[in-house]
């Protein structure tokens, strides 16, 4: 029996909703805690990373509030002192990176959707998947403990020798990061094995949805880069405990070597962040343009190219850090190479919209926001990759603005778009469309107010990680702080209507958007084993040509 999936026919599979789905198949806390169902683990991850986002976001608002005026006063009282400020931005950065953005899309959405898209019943190693989630929890617990024991004031980059000499709970935080690293490795390992071996009968590599390609490329980085982060953290902890003499110059170590270790992971890690975001966009755009994706192979290859090229450019964080001139020049040259696959993707998405049949539902609004914000973030990366301009811009708010455009404006926007896109599938409920669009607009405006400003601050010479600043920067800082309130308001509205949608009865059709990938074939929410019958793929993905209805 052939099933035609077109938007005019959104209630496809409108069979009676199965009484038992993955949410209510078993009940009780324990049935969740001990579950090996990728969908439940995905949901638990979603709750976990969004809580981390919330905490990180509160720290962010505190940063902005502190910088509202050069005196840091609010109603006549100094909000936080310099030491506290340093801890706050460190926690903000570390939480956002290690607890939120790296596990965000792979842990939650990919965990939920990837097996469904492949027509599989689960990921390759379900127990490892659960272990990965618990490692995340362990890492989070360690991070919280470190906050209680005086927090960490090193910046999320843990540069030595500051981090080896500061009197703080750095040891605990390094262990937290180490643990989170292994959580991420296990997720990636699982996805690679799943993609290789659990594709539905008939599904070749180039029949996979692009979301799977993106997740797969991400998993390569997770597996190959993260172990080095692990060993870096171990070395840092040992340096603090025993003075082993590798990073601290007082005892013969080399601080620049630490930076090599750190960025060997952390540059590829920025592609762990963005590639899954791009993967989501590659799903949303064809679905809401009701048109096949333009340049399927180019997009698939560019995901992998980003993953591999991402390993060759880490030295661009160290142009003025004391690495050799030769290394600096090589790294700068290689840095430009990553612009090409990113551009290819951007242009392909635009070409997909050309002559489409575009409806601006909330996920598509986020996708378009992504296109604009990522373009700005990526293009400002070029300013930083070019040698002479980076000398002036490095370690200023220009860098802060650059990475918020790619991380918040890129990944997080795509993530929120993805949450909306798959919300009906995950929860079985439709959210309020009107509020969805309003919130999206607020987020977009607030975000640009907050961070566009910071490009100007940085170009004018405002260094990052500054508690006190010269009066001349005050107006821009204040504007940025106002922006963060608009942004915060937008996100709170998102949280509010999404949570509100959970209270009404299940009303989502199986395929509300007319998607063409396999997750839309099963019921919303899916049954425990994903599909009633093993789906088999017969056509390429994103085929929006009208179907001739056959008779079964």
């Amino acid at each position: 029996m052939a099933q035609a999936l077109t938007h005019s026919d959104p209630h496809i599979g409108d069979r009676p909703r199965p009484a038992k789905n993955y949410l209510n198949a078993t009940t009780g806390i324990w049935s969740w805690m001990s579950t090996v169902d990728h969908k439940r683990i995905g949901v638990m991850y979603l709750v976990a990373v969004l809580s981390a986002f919330f905490v990180g976001g509160m720290f962010a608002l505190l940063i902005r509030l502190t910088l509202l005026t050069p005196s840091h006063k609010l109603f006549g009282k100094v909000l936080i002192d310099a030491d506290a400020y340093n801890r706050v931005f460190t926690l903000h950065g570390a939480i956002m990176v290690f607890l939120f953005i790296i596990p965000s899309i792979p842990g939650s959405l990919a965990n939920f959707v990837l097996p469904l898209m492949l027509g599989a019943k689960d990921v390759a190693f379900p127990r490892l998947n659960l272990a990965s989630f618990y490692l995340w929890c362990g890492g989070a617990a360690l991070a919280v403990t470190s906050m209680i024991f005086g927090a960490v004031d090193t910046g999320w980059t843990f540069y030595t020798p500051y981090s080896t000499t500061t009197q703080n709970a750095v040891g605990l935080m390094t262990m937290a990061v180490f643990t989170l690293g292994f959580s991420s490795i296990f997720t990636g390992l699982n996805f690679i094995a799943t993609t290789h071996k659990l594709r539905a009968p008939g599904m070749g590599w180039f029949d996979m949805p692009l979301f799977v390609w993106g997740t797969y490329a991400t998993a390569i980085i997770q597996v190959l880069a993260t172990p080095v982060l692990g060993i870096t953290m171990v070395l840092l902890a040992l340096e603090r405990a025993f003075n082993i003499g590798i990073f601290d110059p007082k005892i013969g170590g080399d601080p620049v070597l630490f930076q090599h270790f750190f960025w060997f992971y952390s540059h590829p890690a920025v592609y762990i962040m963005i590639v899954p975001g791009m993967a989501i966009i590659s799903e949303i755009i064809p679905t809401f343009s009701r048109k096949t994706i333009f340049g399927y192979r180019a997009i698939a290859y560019s995901s992998v190219a980003l993953a591999l090229l991402g390993f060759l450019v880490w030295g661009h964080h160290m142009f003025v850090a004391g690495q050799s001139e030769l290394a600096t020049v090589i790294f700068s040259a290689l840095t430009f190479l990553v612009a090409i696959p990113s551009g290819v993707k951007l242009f392909n998405w635009l070409a997909t919209m050309y002559k489409g049949n575009i409806s601006l539902e909330t996920p598509m609004c986020y996708a378009i926001s992504f296109l604009l914000l990522f373009a700005i973030g990526g293009l400002t990366g070029i300013f930083l990759g070019a040698l002479s301009t980076d000398v002036h811009l490095t370690d200023t708010y220009f860098v802060v603005a650059h990475f918020h455009y790619v991380m918040m404006g890129g990944t997080v926007i795509a993530f929120i778009g993805g949450v909306h896109y798959w919300w009906p599938k995950i929860t079985g409920r439709m959210y309020n469309e009107k509020w969805g669009r309003i919130a999206c607009a607020l987020v977009f405006i607030g975000f640009n107010m907050t961070f566009l400003t910071q490009f100007f601050l940085g170009s004018k010479g405002m260094p990052r990680r500054y508690y006190n600043y010269l009066d001349q920067y005050q107006p821009l800082h204040a504007f940025s702080t106002f922006g963060s309130w608009v942004l915060g308001l937008g996100l709170f509205i998102v949280a509010a209507y999404l949570l509100a949608s959970l209270r009404k009865p299940m009303d989502a059709p199986d395929n509300p958007w007319g998607g063409t990938t396999m997750e839309w074939l099963t019921s919303s929410p899916p049954i425990e084993h994903n599909f009633e019958e093993q789906p088999v793929l017969e056509h390429e993905p994103y085929d929006y040509r009208p179907k001739v209805k056959k008779h079964a």
């Binding site: 551009g343 002559k355 373009a375 002036h392 006190n468």
Partner: protein, 312 residues
């Protein structure tokens, strides 16, 4: 376009600055064009191809020519940008042989500079206009970074090594420099003034420390020295204990030393505390205060003493 550049970037204080700004502005306009193109396309398509129920979309899978064009064109642009950046970088990284060399020692959270003739300053540099100056920098504790926005130069300072940075100042007057590598609590206070003088003023400044002080009453000058010379990082004036004792109310009081003896805090004691801080260590503190011999000129010491007297 000059007004536009100065809207975005700090004043140009060196020849190198113009170099950086040229690339910056090129990248700015390139990005603006690309961004507007992308934004226009996205929004135009969203409006032009607005959803109509039942409309069938064409099945366009790819277009090889188009894809090659938008891979190769950016690549070519990138090659240009790379070499442009490289050109500036070469100038930045190789100092001319005849530069004046200033030794920089960074430390939490104070800068000290030493001139070829041996005179030393803290958080305050004067340089002659039109002559290349090279800073040879090292750190005593953690990473710092010497950043002079107006000159568009910046370089990390690594403990255990010497790194350098240079520029040729072209614009007379005050500029500021600041620390751009995170170094702890006082990171954002680690800044100072760079003054570009003409040859004569520079010579005079080297000998006497300038005569700026004549414009201020001694206690005001002393207060300014506290900020400039970095006393403020360790000494509070409101009675709170910092790395060193607070200055509040110390004048005229009997201070107990770590060896148990007591001394009256008078002018001589204060002067000794600045020149040979380790001669007498105040009880309960460590001997971490650096000597300011050669850093404080007589008028500065007078000013500081006058200022401390006012702190009742």
């Amino acid at each position: 376009m000059e007004w536009f550049r100065s809207l975005m970037l700090p004043p140009q204080g060196s020849a190198f600055a113009a170099e950086v700004d040229a690339l910056y502005m090129f990248l700015f306009w390139l990005s603006a064009v690309l961004f507007l193109g992308i934004a226009f396309a996205a929004i135009y398509f969203a409006i032009r191809y607005k959803y109509v129920p039942g409309r069938v979309t064409p099945h366009i899978t790819h277009n090889t020519t188009l894809e090659i064009v938008w891979s190769v064109l950016p690549l070519l642009l990138c090659v240009v940008i790379f070499f442009w950046g490289l050109e500036g970088w070469m100038k930045y990284s190789v100092a001319p042989g005849e530069s004046m060399e200033i030794q920089v020692t960074a430390k939490k959270w104070i800068w000290t500079f030493e001139y070829p003739d041996g005179s030393r300053t803290a958080n305050d540099i004067h340089v002659p206009v039109g002559k290349p100056v090279k800073f040879i920098m090292t750190s005593e504790d953690v990473l710092h970074d010497f950043f002079v926005p107006d000159m568009r130069v910046k370089h990390d300072i690594v403990p255990g090594r010497y790194t350098e940075v240079w520029f040729t100042p072209t614009v007379l007057g005050p500029h500021h420099f600041t620390c751009a590598e995170y170094c702890g609590k006082g990171h954002s206070d680690m800044m100072g003034k760079l003054t570009v003088d003409n040859e004569a003023d520079f010579k005079k400044w080297l000998e006497t420390g300038g005569d700026d002080w004549k414009n201020y009453p001694p206690e005001v000058w002393g207060q300014m020295q506290r900020e400039q010379k970095g006393c403020a990082t360790c000494h509070s004036i409101d009675g709170t204990r910092g790395q060193g004792p607070s200055w509040k109310g110390i004048y005229g009081k009997m201070e107990t030393m770590s060896d148990g003896k007591s001394y009256l805090v008078d002018d001589a004691y204060l002067q000794e505390s600045m020149m040979q801080p380790n001669a007498k260590i105040v009880k309960g503190f460590e001997a971490i205060m650096p000597s300011f011999q050669g850093l404080l000129h007589p008028q500065d010491i007078r000013g500081l003493i006058a200022y401390i007297k006012t702190l009742k």
